[in-house]
C-alpha cells in the first residue's frame, strides 16, 4: 500500500471534514465533495485517509471516486476550461468549439497544459441552454462561443486579463 505522505495539516483538513460528517460511511460522497473543494483534487493518499477515517475500504472509496465524474484524482489547471456538451450546445456547435480548444491548447479532454495553466474538460448541461454553446473558464460562463473566439479567450487568460469584461461574449 502506498505510504501516506501528506503534510500533517492536510491530514488534519481531511480528518476535520470527516469528523464534521460524524465519520459516517454513508456520508462518503459529501466528504469527497468537501475535501475536493478544499484540496482541489483527491489523490490516492487523500483517499487512504478518508477510508481510514470512515472505516471503510480504500477500494470502495476509489470505486466511488472513479464512478462520479465530479471527482478528480489529478489537479486541475489554474483555469479549468469546461465545455458544455449538453444536447442544446452540441447541436449549436459545441464539438467544434471543443476541437478548437484541443487544437489551441494541444491537450485532450481530461488533461492539463504543461504549464499547469489550463485543463480541459467536458460537462453535461449547465442548464444555460439559452446561451449555447457554453464554455466555462473557472467560474466564468461564456455564452454563444464560436470556434473563432477560442483563441482570444485563451489569450486573454494567458495575458492575465481573463476576468476582464472584454472577454465576455454573452
Amino acid at each position: 500500500m502506498p505510504k501516506i505522505k501528506l503534510a500533517d495539516n492536510t491530514i488534519k483538513v481531511i480528518k476535520d471534514v470527516c469528523a464534521e460528517y460524524n465519520n459516517s460511511e454513508g456520508e462518503l460522497i459529501n466528504v469527497l465533495h468537501k475535501v475536493q473543494h478544499k484540496l482541489g483534487y483527491l489523490p490516492a493518499e487523500v483517499q487512504e485517509v478518508i477510508a481510514k477515517e470512515l472505516k471503510t475500504s480504500v477500494a470502495k472509496v476509489y470505486g466511488v471516486v472513479t464512478f462520479y465524474s465530479f471527482f478528480s484524482m489529478v489537479p486541475k489547471g489554474e483555469f479549468p476550461i469546461s465545455i458544455c456538451m449538453g444536447t442544446a450546445c452540441y447541436v449549436r456547435g459545441a464539438e467544434q468549439v471543443l476541437n478548437e480548444f484541443k487544437r489551441q491548447l494541444k491537450v485532450e479532454v481530461g488533461e492539463s497544459t504543461g504549464d499547469g495553466m489550463f485543463s480541459l474538460n467536458c460537462l453535461r448541461c449547465l442548464g444555460a441552454c439559452g446561451l449555447s454553446p457554453v464554455v466555462m473558464v473557472g467560474e466564468k460562463v461564456y455564452g454563444r462561443v464560436a470556434p473563432t473566439q477560442v483563441k482570444q479567450i485563451i489569450t486573454d487568460y494567458r495575458d492575465g486579463c481573463g476576468s476582464s469584461d472584454s472577454s465576455k461574449t454573452a
Binding site: F71, A88, V91, Q96, N99, R103, R124, C125, G127, A128
Partner: protein
C-alpha cells in the same frame, strides 16, 4: 415627462422581422408624424409574441387590440382609423377559429396564450430568497390545510384524483406512489426529492429550485405528512451551485418560521429536510441508483422490486418524486383536484414544463397544458426555427427519448402519445433540429452520452451501447454497410429488452427513432458515403474554389497540419490526404473561397 397616450407594439421576433416588421414600424412612425400624433403615440419593437403563424403582429395599447397579418401598407389605416378616430381596423383583427368572431381585445383571446404556468407559477414573480413573498402567494397554505383539515388519506386521495403523474419521465401516478409508501410499515420513512436533473438540455428543475424553492419544501412536507415520514432529503446535482444555495437559504428560512422542524403549525407534525449532493452521474436519476448514491455508494441501480416505496434509503420505505412533480402539489391542494384534472388530456393531467432549446428562436423554459401540440410549442411559443431554416426534427425525452419528424408536429403532447410516437416525455428537454443536423450524428451523440453515463453493471448496457456507438461511428465515417442498419436495430431491441434499469432500457431509443424516421439519411451514409446535412466531417471535403481564391495565404498560414499549398496571389490547393477537416480554412477565408462538399 412625456406621457404617450398610446403605444403601438410591433413584434420584432424573428418570424415577424422576416415578414417585414421593420417596414411596418417605419410606416407606422411615418403616419404618426404625418397625423401629428408624435407626442401622443409611440411605436416600439417587442420580443416575440409567440403567435408567429399569424404574424406580423401589432398590438395597440390601451385596449389590447391585437392586429394580425399586418402589412406595411396597413400602417396608414391603423394610424388614421384607430389612433386618430379610435376605431379599430376590423379586417386586421384576429378571428376566432371556432366562433368566427373577431376579437378586438387580446385579453379575450386567452387561448392564444398557449402557456399555462402551474409549476413555474412563482418563478420570475417572487424573490426566491424571501419566504414572505412565497407566503404572500398562498405559500405554505396547502401545508397548513393538509395538517389542520385533511387526513393523510384524504390528501393522498386528492393527489390521486388530480391525476398527477411523475414529471421526471416515468409518468407513474404520484398519488398511488404516496399510497404505497403510506401503507409500507416501518419505524422510519423518507421523502426524497430527485433534483438530479441529468438530461442534457433540460433545466426546469434547476429553474424551479432557483426561482421557487419553498414550493418544493412545502410539497415535501405534505408528502411526509401523507406517508408518515419526518425526514426529507433533496438529492441535487453539484453542477447547480445557485440552486443549492437558494435551497439552503429557503430551508433555513422555513426553519426560522417554524414551517420545518418540530410541531409544525402546532399540529404535532415534525419534518425536516437535508441536502445530498450528486457528483456527476446521470444514472443517479434512476431512483435505486439515487438512493445508493445518497448512501455513499456507487450509483448503481438495483433490480426492482423491491421498490423504494417498500425498501429504499437505508432499507426504509422511501418516496421519491422529482422537483417538478412536487412543484405541482401545493397548487393541487389549494385549488383542488377537480381544478387540476380539467387541464390536460384524458390520461395526462395538468401541465408540463419544457426546456426549449436547439435551433429555435425563443430558447427558454415554457409550461404548457398536456395535450398541446408540438407545432404549437415550436412555432407559436418557440417562434419557429432559427435563421429561417427548415425544421427537421424535435428530440424529446433526452438520451432516453427519440427524434420526431414533422409528421408528428400535430401530435398532442402527453405521456402516452409520445411513447406511441417512439419517443418519451422524459424530464422535458425539447431540442429542435434543423436541416443542418445529421440524424446519424445525433444518434451517435446520444449514444456517446449513455456510453459515458452507463454504470457498467449489466452487460447489455455496458457492452451493447459500446457496440452500437462503434457501428454508428463506422457509419458516420463512411465505413458502414447496409446490413449494419439491420444489426443496429436488432441489437437495440435486445438492449432495451434485457437491460437492468431505465437507462439501458431506453438508451437505444435515439437510434431506433432516427432509423425509423430518417432511414434515408442512414442509407445515404452507408451507400453513397454521403452526409446529407454535411455534418460528418469524415465524409466532407474542404476544397478551394479557384475562381474566388485571391491567394491571400490566410488559409495557408492558419492550416494546423500544412495541408494547404500555393503561391501568393495564386489559387491555393488543399491536399486531402493531409487535411484533418478542422475547418479553420473555411472560417478564416474572407472570400468564401473554401467550399465544403
Amino acid at each position: 415627462m412625456t406621457d404617450y397616450k398610446m403605444h403601438l407594439l410591433v413584434c420584432g421576433g424573428t418570424g415577424c422581422k422576416a415578414a417585414d416588421s421593420d417596414e411596418i414600424r417605419n410606416s407606422l412612425k411615418y403616419w404618426i408624424e404625418q397625423t401629428g400624433m408624435e407626442d401622443d403615440a409611440q411605436v416600439v419593437f417587442t420580443g416575440c409574441f409567440g403567435f408567429c403563424e399569424k404574424g406580423p403582429i401589432v398590438k395597440v395599447l390601451p385596449g389590447n387590440t391585437f392586429y394580425v397579418g399586418v402589412q406595411p401598407g396597413d400602417a396608414e389605416e391603423i394610424v388614421k382609423e384607430h389612433l386618430v378616430k379610435g376605431r379599430p381596423v376590423q379586417r386586421l383583427l384576429y378571428t376566432d377559429p371556432v366562433t368566427k368572431e373577431e376579437i378586438s381585445d387580446s385579453k379575450g383571446m386567452e387561448f392564444y396564450k398557449k402557456q399555462m404556468r402551474i409549476a413555474l407559477r412563482n418563478c420570475g414573480f417572487i424573490n426566491p430568497e424571501n419566504i414572505e413573498e412565497y407566503i404572500s402567494r398562498d405559500g405554505y397554505m396547502a401545508l397548513g390545510k393538509c395538517l389542520t383539515e385533511l387526513s393523510p388519506q384524504e390528501v393522498i386521495s386528492e393527489i390521486k384524483e388530480s391525476g398527477l403523474r411523475g414529471r421526471g419521465g416515468g409518468g407513474f401516478p404520484t398519488g398511488l406512489k404516496w399510497e404505497i409508501t403510506n401503507k409500507s410499515e416501518a419505524d422510519q420513512k423518507y421523502v426524497v426529492c430527485n433534483a438530479d436533473e441529468g438530461d442534457p438540455g433540460a433545466f426546469m428543475d434547476r429553474s424551479i429550485l432557483e426561482g421557487d424553492p419553498h414550493s418544493i419544501i412545502e410539497a415535501m412536507a405534505i408528502c411526509g405528512y401523507c406517508i408518515g415520514a419526518d425526514k426529507g432529503l433533496v438529492y441535487i446535482r453539484a453542477e447547480y451551485p445557485l440552486a443549492i444555495e437558494r435551497l439552503k437559504i429557503a430551508l433555513n428560512q422555513a426553519r426560522e418560521y417554524g414551517l420545518l422542524g418540530e410541531d409544525i403549525l402546532g399540529t404535532g407534525f415534525n419534518f425536516d429536510i437535508s441536502i445530498r449532493l450528486g457528483a456527476g452521474a446521470f444514472v443517479c436519476g434512476e431512483e435505486t441508483a439515487l438512493i445508493h448514491s445518497m448512501e455513499g455508494l456507487r450509483g448503481e441501480p438495483t433490480f426492482k422490486p423491491p421498490f423504494p416505496s417498500v425498501s429504499g434509503y437505508l432499507g426504509k420505505p422511501t418516496n421519491v418524486n422529482n422537483v417538478e412533480t412536487f412543484a405541482n402539489v401545493p397548487v393541487i391542494i389549494n385549488k383542488g383536484a377537480n381544478w387540476f384534472n380539467k387541464i390536460g388530456t384524458e390520461k395526462s393531467k395538468g401541465t408540463k414544463v419544457f426546456a426549449l432549446a436547439g435551433k429555435i428562436n425563443n430558447i427558454g423554459l415554457i409550461e404548457v397544458p398536456m395535450g398541446t401540440t408540438l407545432r404549437e410549442v415550436i412555432y407559436d411559443i418557440g417562434g419557429g426555427i432559427k435563421d429561417g431554416k427548415e425544421f427537421k426534427s424535435v428530440q424529446t425525452g433526452g438520451p432516453s427519448g427519440g427524434c420526431l419528424t414533422k409528421d408528428f408536429l400535430d401530435t398532442p403532447i402527453d405521456y402516452d402519445n409520445l411513447i406511441a410516437a417512439g419517443s418519451m416525455m422524459g424530464s422535458g428537454g425539447m431540442i429542435v433540429m434543423d436541416e443542418d443536423d445529421c440524424m446519424v450524428s445525433i444518434a451517435k451523440f446520444y449514444l456517446e452520452f449513455t456510453l459515458e453515463e452507463s454504470c457498467g453493471k449489466c452487460s447489455p448496457c455496458r457492452i451493447g451501447n459500446k457496440r452500437l456507438h462503434e457501428m454508428l461511428d463506422k457509419i458516420t465515417k463512411g465505413e458502414g454497410e447496409e446490413k449494419d442498419i439491420e444489426r443496429l436495430k436488432m441489437l437495440s431491441h435486445v438492449i432495451k429488452d434485457t437491460s437492468l434499469c431505465g437507462l439501458g432500457q431506453s438508451s437505444p431509443n435515439p437510434v431506433l427513432s432516427t432509423i425509423a424516421n430518417f432511414e434515408d439519411e442512414y442509407l445515404a451514409h452507408v451507400n453513397e458515403k454521403k452526409c446529407p446535412s454535411g455534418q460528418c466531417k469524415d465524409l466532407l471535403k474542404y476544397e478551394v474554389v479557384e475562381d474566388l481564391c485571391t491567394g491571400c495565404t490566410l488559409c495557408f498560414r492558419n492550416c494546423p497540419v500544412g495541408a494547404i499549398t500555393g503561391e501568393r496571389r495564386q489559387p491555393h490547393y488543399i491536399d486531402q490526404s493531409i487535411c484533418i477537416k478542422c475547418g479553420v480554412c473555411y472560417w478564416k477565408c474572407k472570400f468564401n473561397a473554401i467550399k465544403l462538399s
